[in-house]
Structure formats: C-alpha cells, structure tokens
C-alpha cells in the first residue's frame, strides 16, 4: 500500500528521540532535553497521521504491513500491521506523548533528560505493542514497556513508591509468565509466532481454556479487572502526574487490547464459554468499584478507581460479542484515554500548587481558579458520561449493546449513570465549590498558559469525540465485523 514504513517510524522515532534526549546529559542542559523531547514527540505524532489518512476503512485486513525475518530459525519475524481496532491506539498514544512532555515541562527539575527519555521510549514501545503481528515481538514490547513505567514511578514518584512498584511488579509478573507459556504453547502447536495465523490454529477445548486463563491473568492484571486491580490505585498515588497520565491513558489499554487481539480470535470457543465469567467480573468492576470510589478521600485514588470502573465497561463490551458492545468498548478505551489523562492532569495542577491530594484539604477552588474550574467541570462531566463529551459515546453504546445482549446485564451496567456521577461530582463539589476553605486555597493562582494549552487540547478532543464520533467508529466496522464473525464461527464443531 505504501513504501514508507509508517509503523516502524511510529515505533522508532520516539525511541531514537528518547536516546537523543538522554544524550543531552545532565540537568544543566535541561532546556535542551525538553526541547528535543517535545520535537521528538511532535514528530512521532506527525508520522502517525498518515496512518489515519491512508487507512482503508473498507478493509478488515492488516494494513501498513511490514515483514522482516528476525530469528529465522524459529520463524520469529519483525512483523507489523494495524487494523481498524489498533489504529486509534497508536494515534492516541502518540498524542498523549506530546501531552506528557508538556505536562512535565516545569514540574520535573531533576534528571530531566532521563524523565523525558523514559516517556518517549515507553511511547515507542507501546506503539510496538499495538502494531506487532508476531507473538515474540509483541511479548518483547509488552514487557519492555513496563521498564520505563517502573522507572517513572520509582525515580520520580512519591514517598511510598517502592511499595507501589513492588505491588505493580508482583501483580504483573505472574501474568507475564503465564502469557509467555501460552505463547510458547501456541508456537509448539503451529510452529509459528504469527498472531494472525494463530487465529486458524486448531485447538481443543482444554487447550483453549488453559490458554484463555493464561491470557486472562496476563491481560486482566493490566486492565485491571476485579479482583486483581489493587495495584493500580497505589501505583497512581505514587506516580508523578505524567506517569499517571500514561498509565491511565495508554497502559491500561494494553491489557484490553490483548483481549481483542489474542483471547477472542485465538481461543474463540473458550472465550465464548467463559464469557459469563468475564461479564460477571466486569459488572463487579462497574458496581463494586463504583461504590469503592465513592468512599475515597484521596483524589488520585478516586480517579484511579473510576478508571477501573470505566475499564469494566471495556471488558464487558468485548465479551458480549455484539457489534454495539465491541465498538462501544473500543470507543470507551479511546475516550478514557482523553478523559482520564485530563482528570489526572487536573489533579496534577492542584497538586503542584498545594502538594496535597486529599479532598478535605480543598474547597472553594473556583473562587481563585475559575478557568481551571471550568475545565475540571468539563472533564468531570465527561467522566460521568454526559452527552456531547467523549465519555458518553462509549458508555451509551456499551449499555445499548448490553441491553441487546441481556436486559438485566444492561440494567446492572447502567447503574454507572448514577454511581459515576455520584463519585465524580461529589468530589468536584468538595474540591471546587463552596467558600474558600483555607488560606492556601485563597492563595492559589489560576492555570498558566502552558496548563491552559494542555487542558484545552484535551478538552478539544473530548468535545470533538462527543459531538462527532463518526470518524472513530467508521474505521472499526470492517475489523470488528470480521472479528465477531470469527468468534461466532469458532474452531470446534460442534461447539461444546
């Protein structure tokens, strides 16, 4: 289709850019490090735009394919390609990279080059995850992308960062090992690491179920699904603002992406058989976590729990296996990328000024920061799924899909309308509304031009997607249809 390897560029420009930033060395060159990082991020985003422009929405096949032998003896290839499912995540990832570079512009004053480099390298690796069509390549990117995230939490994080990093490590370790086993088993059966070929590899029900659970643990931890979610609030609380933004906007999507790229197409019969389990876990995430979010006193924890609840909608949408559910879930992932990023940035804006995340320390912020309050209101409403914001689109579509699947599941899912509004707006009320609560709040300065730019960028995305989501779903239809047909057909006849 094209001669320019856009996907490779999307992966390697940020990584090379990151190395270049590292080369600027110590903090006395910090300004240069920032500038190089910003340019690399912008350039990295620019090369992803042709992916959308030249994308053929009518085709369900992988596009922008690249193939080169890597370890020929084991049939391991450097194979890249994207379809309508992965396209948006590469664009989202590249966009969020610009956001985090700007977000760390002033607040990060030590080891600036390393900080910026970590984000750029992570961004490239994550693009690799979304583009990889080879199991080993995917695994390498998947594992490698965690290292910069560990670093960001561990080096620039809060006082309890070691505890958080260990918890993160423990939870993900088990999952990664199981996924590796599953990939090796699939290679054993097919003598190939080709993810697309695995779709057609014959597997019995037992093998499918074992692989399904291996993937479930690996991806479920990342999403994170209940009950393996407790690492996320801790990680968010300790992470610097930029780390939280990437963690929420992109890292959580990796697990969900794994479900659509691996679990559903490769072990379709097991996915169908175990779907009730996933749906139950998803509903628990939506409702249980919704209540837990209500009880939080720390803003970051609250938004972290809200993320888990929103990701519950994603897994719910996937495993209902209807078009509305699946497309709604994919939209919810993109929207959550914008909205959660914006929510964490808003909390960062407050934290930078007050050095507290406790809701009780705030109150009446609108009196001193009216512009900030307006942005925060928009994002809070998006988080609560208000129409004309991106948050509405995914939630609405998934709930429609759920009612189509089973009315009672739809009813349970729709409780988020009340719960999501309750925890988000109750927090907003306590933080922003009311009389000025303390002298510190009285002394707050409204957002700077740089913060304004960041929040305005995300606000534009949230509103654009809320008012005209057509372009987002348009590219998905072909791939989603094909995936659903594939899952419906299954590999076993008769299906158990």
């Amino acid at each position: 289709m094209t001669d320019i390897p856009f996907l490779s560029l999307a992966i390697w420009i940020p990584i090379l850019g990151g190395l270049l930033v590292l080369a600027t060395g110590p903090d006395r060159n910090a300004q240069m490090a920032r500038t190089v990082a910003l340019l690399a991020a912008i350039f990295g985003f620019a090369v992803t735009i042709p992916l959308y422009i030249r994308f053929d929405a009518a085709s369900a096949a992988m596009q922008f394919k690249e193939l080169a032998p890597w370890i020929a003896h084991f049939n391991i290839n450097y194979a890249l390609g994207i379809d309508g499912i992965s396209l948006w995540f590469i664009l989202l990832n590249a966009f969020i990279t610009i956001v985090v570079v700007i977000a760390g512009w002033r607040i990060i004053q030590s080891r600036v080059a390393q900080y910026m480099a970590a984000f750029l390298i992570m961004s490239g690796l994550m693009n690799g995850i979304f583009a990889a069509l080879d199991g080993v390549l995917f695994y390498v990117f998947f594992e490698a992308s965690l290292i910069p995230l560990y670093l960001i939490i561990g080096v620039w994080g809060g006082p309890n960062r070691v505890h958080a990093a260990i918890k993160f490590f423990l939870f993900t370790l088990a999952g990664s090992l199981l996924m590796l086993l599953a990939l090796l088993y699939l290679y054993n059966v097919s003598h190939s690491f080709d993810i697309l070929a695995w779709r057609h590899t014959g597997l019995g029900m037992t093998a499918q179920s074992l692989i399904f659970f291996a993937f479930l643990v690996a991806f479920g931890v990342k999403v994170p699904m209940w009950p393996v979610h407790t690492w996320l609030p801790d990680a968010h609380v300790e992470a610097p603002t930029g780390g939280s933004v990437v963690l929420a906007a992109i890292a959580l999507k990796l697990g969900a992406y794994g479900f659509v790229r691996f679990s559903l197409p490769i072990v379709p019969d097991a996915a169908v058989a175990w779907a009730p389990l996933i749906i139950a876990l998803s509903l628990i995430a939506v409702i249980y976590i919704g209540f837990v979010a209500l009880a939080q006193t720390d803003m970051k924890k609250l938004v972290a729990y809200s993320s888990i609840s929103h990701m519950g909608f994603v897994t719910l949408g996937f495993f209902m296996r209807n078009q509305l559910g699946l497309e709604g879930a994919l939209i919810q992932m993109i929207s959550h990328g914008f909205v959660s990023a914006a929510m964490f940035l808003c909390i960062g804006v407050l934290y930078d000024r007050m050095h507290s995340r406790q809701i009780a320390d705030y109150g009446g912020v609108v009196n001193t920061m009216p512009k900030f309050a307006a942005f925060f209101m928009l994002f809070a409403m998006a988080n609560a799924g208000l129409p004309a914001t991106s948050g509405f689109v995914g939630e609405f579509t998934v709930i429609l899909g759920a009612v189509q699947y089973n009315f009672w599941i739809g009813l349970l899912a729709a409780t988020t309308l009340v719960l999501g509004a309750a925890y988000t707006l109750w927090m907003y009320k306590r933080v922003v509304f009311g009389a000025v609560a303390s002298e510190q709040v009285a002394g707050l300065a409204d957002i700077s031009a740089r913060e304004f730019l960041l929040l305005a960028l995300l606000a534009a995305c949230v509103l654009a997607m809320g008012l005209y989501p057509f372009p987002f779903t348009e590219v998905m239809h072909a791939s989603v249809d094909q995936l659903l047909e594939h899952v419906a057909a299954g590999k076993l006849t008769p299906r158990p």
Binding site: L22, H73, F74, Q114, A117, V140, E143, I147, Y150, L151, G154, V155, V162, A165, I166, K167, F169, L170, L173, L180, L184, P227, V228, T230, F291, V292, L294, A295, N322, Q323, L324, N367, P387, A388, V393, F396, T397, I399, L400, V403, Q404, N406, G410, A414, L417, V418, A421, A422, L425, W426, K429, V432, F433, G434, A435, Y468, F470, T473, E474, H477
Partner: protein, 665 residues
C-alpha cells in the same frame, strides 16, 4: 431563507449567544453579554413564530442533520422533527426564555456572575430546543441530559452557598436515577427495532406490542414504556423522584421560572406525549402513569400549605401541577396534558417572576410571614400575581381553568384501573391548590404589614447575610425590565386558554403528532359535549371543581385574613400531621440515610474489607515470601541507573532466546 435554515437558526442562535456571553464575557462586558443573549433568543422566538405559520399551513418536516455515529448497524443521527407538537413547544420555550432573559437584566443586575448567568440560560434554551425538536431518541437523550447539566450549573450558581451546592448535586443525581430508566427504555427499543428514529419505532409499535421480553416473559412494550416513564419521573419530578425540585429553589429566581417551572420540568410530559404511539398500546403503563401523577398532584399540594418560603410554595405548586399533567397523560388525554403544560408555563413563570419581584422588593427576605400588604407598594407585581394565582387555581375565564377542567373531565371519562383514585386526587387537589395559593397571596399582598419589624423567623435562614428591612423602610415596585415580563406573561396567563382550547383539544389540531387509541377515547367523548369556550366557562360555574376552588379560597381567607390565629391552633391540634408535612413525608430523611449514607458506608466497607482486607490482605500476604524476595530484587532495581534496567531487560531476552534455542534442537 428556506425552512431548513430557519430550523437550524432556532437552536443555534441561543447557542451562539451562550458561547459569546460565556467564553468572551469579559470582552463584551455586561451589556454586551445580555444584548447578545437576548438577540439570540429573540431570533429563535421569531424563527419559531415563522415556523409556526408554516406548520399551521400544513407543512411538516422530518429529516436528518448529520449522522453522529454508526455502530452495530444502528444509525445514530442528529435531526429535526417539526410538527405541531414540536412547534408549540418551541414557541413556549422561546417565549418564556425571552421573558426570563429580559427579567434577568434587572434581577441579576448586581451579581458578579452576570455574563455567566446569561451564558447558562442561553445554553439551556439551546438544549431544551434540541430536546423538543429531535426526531430520534439519541438527540432526545442528549437534550435530556444537557438540560440536566445546565440545571445543575444554575442551581449551584451561587457556589459559595452550602445549600446551593448540596441541592445541585442532589438534583443531578436524582435526575440520573430517572435517566437510568430512560436509557434502559431506549436500550430496549434499539435492541428490538434496531433504530433510534421515532418514525421507524412508531411504525413498528404493533410488532413491539406483540413481543415478550427474553428470560422474564414480561410484555415488552409495557417494560419499554415503564422504563421511559421513569425518565419522565426524574425530569418532571414525580413521586418518588420529586425530591430535587423543591431544593432547586436555591438557584436564582429567573431559572426557577424558566427551568424549574415552565420548560425543563415539562420535558417528561412532552416526552410521554411524543411517545403516545407507544404508551397507547400499554394499559398497564398508562395506569402506572395515572397513579403516579395523581399521587404527585394531591400529596405535593398538601406540602405547599405548610411552606413559608415564597419560592418553595410555588415549587410545591409546580410539583402538584406536573402531577396534573401526568394524570392527563395516563388518561390518554395527551393534548390536554400539553395544553396544561402550555398554560402552566405562562402562569407559573409569571408566579415565579412575580415572587422574584417580591423578593427584590423585600430585600431578599423570602419568608411570607414577614410580608403582608404589599399590594400598596408593588401594584404591578400585585395585579399580575393575582392573575397568575387565579389562573393557577382554575378560576373560570383564566387559562388554567380550561386546561385543568379538561384534565379532570378526561380522568372522569377514563376507565383504566386507578382512574377512580386519580379522579379523587385531582378533585381534592383543586381545593388544596386554592388553599395554598391564596394563603400565599393573602400573606404576601394583603393583611397587616409585617415587614420592617424584628421578627422571630430569622433563625430559619442558615445563611450569614442579613435579609429584609430596617424598621420604617418600605418596599418599592421593581424596575421596568422586571415588570414588563410580568405584564407580557400575564396576558397569555389570562387569555391563552379560551383562545386555544377548541383547536388544541377538540379540533384535532395536533394531527398525527399525537396518537390516541380507539379504546382510550376520553377526549372524543368530551368533544361531543363541548360547545365552545363560553359555554364551558358558564358550565364551569356550576361544576364541582369551581366550588372546591372557591371553598379553598374561602378557607384561606378565613384562616389568614379573618382569623390569623387559627392556623397556629390547627397546627397544635393536628401536631402529628403537621410534623409529617413539615418533614415532607420524610422522603429526604429516608434518601439521606438509606441512599446517601448507605452508599458511602457500603463503599467504605467494600474498600476496607474487600480491597484492603481480602484481596491485599490474604492475596498479597499469601505471597509474602515473594514480596520479601521481590523487595530485595527491587532494592537492586531502585538504583536509578538506566543501564542496569537495560541490562536486565537484555538479559531477560537473552535467557528467553537461550531457552528456545536449547529447546529447538
């Protein structure tokens, strides 16, 4: 200009006003902001009038503006349906909005949030217009939630007041409970028809009526209608989702008139009337609507009798009147419901704006026990408020008489289960309405002048700022920007009923916009005994509602003019009943304890026992040895030197490759 441009102009002109006043308020200044906002709404009103003429000439429109999204084979569209029902709503919304915009110049003159206020009310007008002009469920839901958002912003407009920000959160959440049902109803429709478009859904209504729900086997259409009606209960504040509306009075008075009386709260009524092709096919749903509406009409009226805050009296009266409209829907008299919606929009906006004028005159004292004798000082407010009050109680000749009597007649003609109870409620409600309305009227405008004295009721106000008069000062009539809207609203409050009853109710003016099944022909029966508005007025003088209303007025006069000591005696005699009414049947207390506190408690317990106790406690401590091991590993990892991490990763990949290579041979 062709019609379609005109349709677009109606919502977009207020939107433009909202954007300019909101985002560029500092540049355009206060005068600039209100000029832009008023120009936008005026343009919308004029365009609506032109569209009305066009529709009156027999034209209608149903078309798509743009495809918002496609997913799952369903087209999610934004589009307009312009028919008689729509255009009537457009006129009501834009007219009342225009009056409120003008009134606001005076009412909010000293407020620092002047531009923001204009931005919000224009944004509200846009949202409400999108809601009523929609030709599909998506846009309906859009508008539905958008008016809820603006209502939230406006109730909490004075965001420093604890009561205001409590009320706006409560309003949003209670509305969300309604939206929860509404969304499920829409979900069922999409699941079974594959479409969000009204016309497609209505065309398939017979097929829907023939289906049952999966698993439970309930009749599908009944489930759909009940779900949709839960949405209407939230938005139109029907028991038990009414609790947010009285508290919404924390917002500035102009929005109480516009949003919480004339327009937004009637969205639920409009929606059910719009969905008449669905509701007509489910008697169970109609009975439910009837009973809920009747309960709201009577029992919310009782609460109006014991309120002392002028706005809260009007708020409970709004609840009660919304109940009347809902009853009409349940009796299949959709056009009577919309008729009452229209007359109510005028006279209730008038009453609220009149109350606002009184509040300004009283220097923001809202307690009617501190008023009295105001007619002397505020003649325009007095006369217009009297007109509004007479319309509200249904005095023959006034607009409310025609709409309310039609509703009572329709309930009388209905044979659905629950219609007997509903008839009792709406008849008793007439007495109650007259009692609380004239109680307020007498206490405010007549009797002894009680302002300007040190009074005992001050502790009722939680707020810090002082209200009311220094001794010796007198209230003054409000300025022209305030009295002009009062006069302009008083005219339709008096005349609108007699001019429009015949076409709206009996000549089938609504045409295909409202569908009534042959088995629910209450209005048709009434049409045969209708001989013009004059005959109806004369006949009204002999009917039960008139005498009930008259005795209500007489009771109010006796209790609050003739023997002002009696109410206190009655309160003591019926102390238990009084306590129940003062506590508003304990709905708020119940919600506070069960839902608000309960949810917080549940969340806290789940967090402590579930997340921290079970998952982290047992799950993670079970792996405690691993933690120790990992901690050691991590302390090595925590060096912060990038090369070590890179090395570790490369080592990992190397080990992996070695494993395969060894295995491969």
């Amino acid at each position: 200009m062709d019609m379609q441009t005109l349709y677009l102009l109606v919502p977009l002109a207020p939107l433009a006003g909202a954007i300019i006043a909101g985002l560029f308020g500092r540049f355009v200044g206060r005068t600039g902001a209100h000029l832009v906002a008023i120009a936008g709404v005026l343009a919308a009103f004029v365009a609506s009038a032109l569209i009305f003429q066009d529709v009156q000439a027999g034209n209608s429109f149903n078309g798509t503006l743009y495809t918002w999204m496609q997913a799952g084979g369903v087209d999610f569209e934004i589009g307009f349906l312009i028919d008689k029902l729509t255009v009537l709503m457009m006129l009501v919304v834009t007219f009342v909005s225009l009056m409120v915009h003008i009134y606001t110049i005076g009412y909010m003159a000293d407020d620092p949030g002047y531009q923001r206020f204009f931005s919000y009310i224009s944004l509200f007008t846009f949202s409400m217009l999108m809601l009523v002009m929609s030709n599909n469920f998506l846009q309906l839901f859009f508008g539905w939630e958008a008016v809820g958002l603006v209502s939230y912003l406006l109730i909490g407009f004075w965001y420093e007041r604890p009561t205001a920000i409590h009320a706006n959160l409560k309003a949003f959440l209670v509305n969300r409970v309604g939206d929860f049902g509404f969304l499920l109803g829409i979900g069922l429709i999409v699941a079974h028809t594959g479409s969000l478009d009204y016309q497609t859904v209505f065309d398939g209504s017979q097929a829907l009526a023939a289906q049952d729900m999966a698993v439970t086997g309930w009749p599908l259409l009944t489930a759909i209608c009940l779900c949709l009606f839960v949405g209407a209960m939230g938005k139109s504040a029907q028991v038990p989702l009414h609790v947010w509306l009285p508290d919404s009075m924390e917002g500035p008075t102009p929005i109480s008139a516009l949003i919480h009386a004339a327009t937004m709260v009637t969205a639920g009524i409009f929606m059910v009337a719009r969905m008449s092709p669905l509701f007509e096919l489910s008697d169970v749903a109609l009975s439910f609507v009837l009973v809920i509406g009747a309960t709201t009409a009577l029992f919310m009226g009782f609460l109006g009798i014991v309120q002392n805050d002028i706005k809260r009296v009007v708020a409970y009266s709004t609840l009660s009147q919304l109940g009347y409209m809902t009853v009409a829907l349940g009796a299949s008299a959709y056009s009577a419901a919309v008729f009452h919606l229209m007359t109510h929009a005028f006279f209730k906006a008038l009453l609220f704006l009149g109350a606002g004028s009184v509040i300004i005159g009283m220097h923001h004292d809202q307690d009617i026990r501190n008023m009295g004798g105001l007619w002397k000082y505020m003649p325009v407010t007095w006369v217009t408020s009297l007109a509004g009050t007479l319309a509200l109680v249904g005095a023959p000749g006034f607009s409310g008489f025609y709409s309310k009597d039609s509703i009572i007649e329709a309930v009388h003609a209905s044979s659905l289960p629950g219609s007997g109870y509903a008839l009792f409620c709406v008849l008793a409600g007439v007495f109650v309405t007259a009692l609380y309305s004239f109680r307020m009227y007498f206490l405010v405008f007549h009797g002894k002048e009680r302002f300007g004295q040190p009074h005992a009721c001050d502790e009722d106000h939680g707020g810090g700022h002082h209200h009311g008069f220094a001794p010796g000062k007198k209230p003054r009539e409000s300025s022209l920007v305030i009295t002009l809207p009062l006069v302009l609203l008083a005219i339709p409050s008096v005349l609108m009923g007699l001019y429009t009853i015949e076409p709206l109710l009996f000549d089938g003016w609504f045409g295909k916009a409202i569908f009534v099944g042959d088995n629910h022909a209450a209005l048709k029966e009434m049409a045969s005994s209708f001989h013009g508005w004059w005959a109806m007025t004369l006949h009204g003088l002999t009917g039960a509602p008139f005498w009930l209303a008259l005795s209500g007025v007489a009771a109010a006069w006796a209790l609050y003019m003739l023997r002002p000591g009696w109410p206190a005696i009655l309160q003591r005699r019926f102390a238990a009943l009084d306590t129940v009414l003062e506590n508003k049947y304990y709905f708020d207390r119940f919600n506070e304890i069960v839902f608000a506190d309960g949810a917080r408690l549940l969340g806290g317990e789940l967090w402590r026992r579930g997340d921290q106790g079970l998952i982290d406690g047992i799950g993670v401590s079970g792996a405690s040895r691993l933690v120790v091991f990992a901690a050691r590993m991590m302390s090595f990892f925590q060096s912060g030197h990038l090369y070590q991490y890179a090395f570790t990763m490369i080592a990992g990949v190397f080990i992996l490759l070695t494993f395969w290579i060894v295995r491969g041979w």
